[in-house]
């Protein structure tokens, strides 16, 4: 086995976990780190300049998701914070309407933990199951939703299995019976077009970093008329919904990143789709190897698999020796040692859920990397299967 050398070209395949800031975006936002450092709440020139930059960014984010106007955009510090504000902010504000909340079985942990916390606070919390491709069961949604359901939270697309949810249909059901639909669009935004008005979304979570913007900014779209309260108390920035001095650099970068994504997404997604399809067709040729998630209703940059008889953290470490960085939903890569709730929810057995590999593509990837990746995956799977007592 060859161990990695310093001159090996690294191949990064984990864009769902971390994304480099686009250098154009960095140049655009850089002045707000050093020269234009004013606090947007200050009334002298430097403050006004910073405030204007934040407002320009707000307009760009609104356009990016076709929001009715920029006042619907609230900047936060992260997608986790946006999810907290959306769910806890609407639940507590509308407590007189009902005390029910609803979410799917495959949501991000920040959504699930908000729901669990509401449950501790007297709300009733139900989980909508998904099918074996990870698509939300619309019939179950209809059964579970009532007029007392304040907020239903369903992600636009799943980060671990790439499945795109039928948001328009979900919106129809939610609005026929219940109240607000919150959509976590972190995995989908910048990969597929999102239109909050056409899709019928009341609250939408975005992350800056996932758009090639700086870490440290997120946004929440709050449709006009949605009743919501803050979860952070302080100076009342962001229409009172997110107190705390604005991270101007990250917000300006997020706006520019969204603007760039709007212009380049179509071409970039088509480019990544070709790489994705080639990877899927080659990797699923390996014996006892299966695609996870939906084969068609799938994010264009996303390829996820499971391999029988081997464990995901071993796959990750072994691939890293080839300089190839992938993700896994394996229990052993997490501190909790619990297998991925997403993989269990699509019906995988525990031992199957342990053997997963997630590839999320981005700007640094190209078709010429495919044979290198496929070769490394084949050798990794073969080597680990030789060690495995489950292979008889």
């Amino acid at each position: 086995m060859v161990l990695k050398g310093n001159n090996m070209e690294k191949i990064y395949l984990d864009y769902a976990s971390g994304v480099p800031i686009d250098s154009r975006v960095f140049e655009f936002a850089k002045p707000y780190l050093i020269k234009k450092f004013g606090n947007p709440s200050s009334l002298y020139n430097d403050g006004v300049e910073a405030k204007n930059a934040v407002e320009e960014s707000r307009v760009k984010i609104a356009k990016f998701i076709n929001a009715e106007d920029e006042k619907t955009i609230i900047f936060t510090g992260s997608a986790t914070e946006s999810n907290n504000l959306a769910i806890r902010g609407t639940a507590f504000r509308n407590i007189s309407t009902g005390k029910e909340v609803l979410t799917s079985a495959i949501e991000h942990i920040s959504v699930i933990n908000c729901m669990k916390d509401l449950q501790k606070n007297g709300f009733s919390f139900s989980i909508i199951p998904v099918d074996s491709f990870g698509v939300v069961d619309l019939k179950k949604l209809e059964d579970l939703i009532t007029k007392n359901t304040i907020v239903t939270s369903i992600m636009y697309a799943n980060n671990e299995i790439g499945t795109i949810e039928p948001i328009k249909e979900i919106s129809k059901i939610v609005h026929e019976k219940g109240n607000y639909l919150h959509v976590d669009a972190v995995a989908a935004a910048g990969r597929i077009p999102i239109d909050v008005q056409k899709d019928g979304i009341d609250l939408l979570t975005l992350s800056s970093n996932d758009l090639y913007g700086p870490k440290g900014a997120g946004a929440l779209y709050v449709k006009k008329g949605v009743k919501i309260q803050s979860v952070l108390l302080g100076g009342g920035q962001e229409r009172g919904l997110r107190s705390g001095t604005e991270n101007v650099f990250a917000i300006v970068g997020m706006g520019d990143a969204a603007n760039t994504a709007m212009k380049e997404m179509k071409n970039e997604s088509n480019r990544l789709l070709k790489i994705r399809d080639k990877l899927i067709s080659e990797i699923t040729k390996i014996d006892q190897t299966y695609l996870t998630g939906h084969p068609i209703k799938r994010l264009p940059h996303h390829a996820s698999f499971r391999f029988s008889y081997i464990e995901g953290e071993s796959i990750l470490l072994n691939m890293d020796m080839y300089g190839i960085q992938i993700a896994t939903g394996s229990a052993c890569s997490h501190k909790t040692l619990e297998p991925s709730h997403v993989l269990l929810s699509i019906g995988l057995k525990h031992e199957e859920a342990h053997g997963s590999m997630v590839i999320t593509l981005g700007k640094s990837n190209n078709l010429s990397q495919v044979p290198i990746i496929v070769k490394a995956v084949k050798e990794t799977v073969n080597r680990l299967r030789k060690l495995s007592p489950l292979v008889k």
Partner: protein
């Protein structure tokens, strides 16, 4: 500073594990863990005059599960079975220059699988 990730020694044993395989008709056999939990280890030993002359393992599990299996076979090879029984999880982790805290249970499994194989040998010997 708290340990982040795996030591070089763990990675070296993960990438180049010693004593991989099975022994047909072993004098002792131990199996610990469960694929449901994400770890399964099998250890096979050949014993002559109470000395472990040959030892092999197969492991399904994470990087530290594979590295600890490899290390425990290295530690036990050539030892008297009574001395090999005294190999602890701590010994395995120390020889690997430490394991992250949430991975310590892996070293436990490796030592347990070895102990199971030795117990199995001793039981067979009684009969």
């Amino acid at each position: 500073m708290a340990q982040v990730g795996y030591s070089k020694k763990v990675m070296e044993h993960f990438m180049n594990p010693r004593n991989v395989g099975v022994i047909k008709n072993p004098d002792g056999y131990g199996k610990i863990g469960n694929p449901v939990c994400g770890d399964l280890m099998e250890i096979f030993i050949k014993v002559k005059d109470d000395i472990i002359t040959e030892i092999k393992f197969k492991t399904f599990g994470c990087g530290s599960a594979i590295a600890t299996s490899s290390m425990v076979t290295e530690l036990a090879k050539g030892k008297h079975v009574d001395d090999a029984m005294k190999i602890t999880r701590g010994d395995v982790a120390d020889e690997l220059e430490g394991l992250p805290p949430h991975k310590m249970h892996c070293s436990n499994l490796a030592a347990d699988a070895l102990h199971e194989a030795i117990k199995n040998y001793k039981n067979k010997k009684k009969k």
